[in-house]
Amino acid sequence: GSGSNDDAGASGSSGEAAGDVKIGLVTKTDTNPFFVKLRESAQEAAEAEGAEVVALAGKFDGDNEGQVAAIENLVAQGVKGILITPNSSTGILAAIEKAREAGVVVIALDTATEPEDAVDATFATDNKKAGVLQGSYVKAALGDKEPSVILLDGTPGGTVDTFRHDGFLEGMGLEEGAPEIKGQENTNGDQTKAQTAMENLLQRVPDANALYTINEPAAAGAYQAIKSAGKEDQIVIGSIDGSCTGVENVEKGVIGATVMQFPGTMAAEGVKAVVEYAASGTKPSGFTDTGTVIITNTPIEGVDSEDTTWGMDNCWG
């Protein structure tokens, strides 16, 4: 709901009072705790800055039409800036370009666009780096054991999914298609799907000892399957996200290590940048890495990490 009543069209002019600043937030979906955190942080930051956030979302992961419609509607409502977690597709670029032509500053959160300069600025996790961190931890935890790797990916073709996947393999020191990779399934980052996939994979790869997971729900699902098969002590599980549930799971020993990212920072920085633009006309630019940290209670020599106590203080969701 809105208290303010801003009829001003989308003009590029600067110097308006911050209290009139309307900011649009477009996430991929509205049902993922990560996006919920983005929304909440954006709203908090906006309140602090005296701005207002209108949050919209696609209907499913990959809903270009939904994101494009959201951008169009936000521009029609006269927002000053749009924060968006863009779908991997280039499908929304035209809409972003139109919005920018209308004088709206567009900032990508969490996921970069392709090309990156389709937006004014990007505040995101370096997902490749996050993947490398996960891979290097798992590799270190295996020690000198011969790796037998299972990959639980997200959605085929997703930008973030690809970065994490490639980063993990780089961290493990493996090539795509290496014989050490014994199995791969897509889970859409869904716990149920991950559990089913892992159950089936374990039938085929009973000797697996290293597991890549696209996110923490996938890791939790996989763990359930691993536990049923009695292989908890055989497999090292790595993950990415840093949600509070995920950190708890690290503490419980469900996940060996997870790479934390910081959605709160992304959203807060984004809101500040729009408010700044509204006040001074200065547009943000470039890619800002909002940081990644390994969380584990079994730190390994040579890999920087924090423990779960620190994790619980900094987690999201």
Binding site: D7, T31, D63, N64, E65, T90
Partner: protein, 331 residues
């Protein structure tokens, strides 16, 4: 054609037939619901009724609006098409990839061929093998979707400007800015309306949906009619694919995943029976507009996405309730 001589013509009942025909197609309920929604949002929000917003609303409805016509045809025969969105997406990828290789016009033609072929596969399975449409199209949905992913290598392909994005071009009607896509959508509605109400094929579609056994006994080629409808839905999906490229100039194998449910919703809110044989394509247009207006109006009112979902769910049920009440009045 043999027919007995007809000296005796009853003086009655040829008058007013047109009007009664219109009212009998029970559009009154959906229309009322649409009007109420428009009025409420105009009063409740500042910018809902702006021409800019209404123009946007129409543009955002084009792809689903076109697909819903194909869905109407299929539902009128007592079937259902869960593959309709997947066929359109396959169409966009063929348009982009073949277009890249052989030029946009060839790409467009290839899209038509592929979409009609996809529709025809459904048609053969339903009409010739006599399988339940729900299972057939669920199966082909899975197949077409996976085939699209494989064909695209899970990549997106940008449109080559020009022919491919023609339906996205703006059109200034003086008071109103719109796109050729919106006109194309309206054209599809008019053509199919004409077919359904003014030609024998249309009457056969209603007959096959209303009572397939009886239709066969009176000598309608039920299989041919069924096949035709599914092939036609494929053709309409090709038009939707073209409009989709105009709207978002990128072929994305993951787009429009909810198209099936959204088109079915538009059809049912528009008063067409899922049991077949009763309904109209203009009902579908209204049904589709009702959902678009709700979405757009709630956004204009600044309602957050989750609450918007709840509101849409409730309002859709309310719209159908209104329709039900109106029909009982009319009876």
């Amino acid at each position: 054609m043999t027919s007995r001589s007809t000296e005796t013509v009853p003086p009655t009942a040829l008058k007013g037939a047109r009007l009664r025909e219109f009212i009998r197609q029970p559009l009154l309920g959906p229309l009322t619901a649409l009007l109420i929604a428009v009025v409420v949002f105009s009063v409740a929000t500042d910018n809902f009724l702006s021409t800019g917003n209404l123009s946007l609303l129409l543009q955002q409805s084009v792809v689903i609006g076109i697909l819903a016509v194909g869905q109407t045809l299929i539902i009128l025969t007592g079937g259902i098409d869960l593959s309709i969105g997947a066929v359109a997406i396959l169409g966009t990828l063929v348009m982009a990839k073949v277009g890249l290789a052989y030029g946009p016009v060839v790409g467009l033609l290839a899209t038509v061929v592929v979409c009609v072929a996809a529709g025809s596969i459904n048609g053969v399975l339903v009409a010739v093998l006599n399988l339940p449409p729900f299972i057939v199209t669920l199966g082909t949905f899975t197949v077409f979707f996976a085939a699209t992913q494989l064909y695209a290598g899970s990549q997106t392909y940008a449109a080559i400007d020009g022919v491919q994005t023609a339906l996205g071009e703006s059109l200034d009607l003086g008071v109103f800015m719109t796109t050729y896509g919106v006109l194309a959508m309206l054209a599809v509605y008019v053509v199919v309306w004409y077919m359904l109400t003014q030609t024998a094929t249309g009457q056969h579609i209603y007959a096959v949906g209303g009572n397939p056994q009886a239709a066969a006994l009176v000598g309608i080629k039920t299989r041919k009619t069924l096949f035709l409808v599914y092939a036609l839905a494929g053709l309409i999906a090709a038009v939707a694919a073209w409009a989709a490229m105009g709207r978002i100039p990128v072929a994305d194998p993951n787009a429009f995943q909810q198209a099936n449910l959204e088109t079915i919703t538009a059809v049912v809110i528009g008063g067409t029976s899922l049991f077949g044989g009763r309904g109209s394509v203009f009902g579908t247009l209204i049904g589709m507009l009702i959902v678009s207006v709700l979405r757009s109006g709630l956004t204009a009112a600044g309602v957050d996405a989750l609450y918007q979902n709840i509101a849409t769910g409730i309002l859709v049920i309310a719209a159908v309730t209104l329709d039900q009440v109106a029909r009982r009045r009319a009876a």
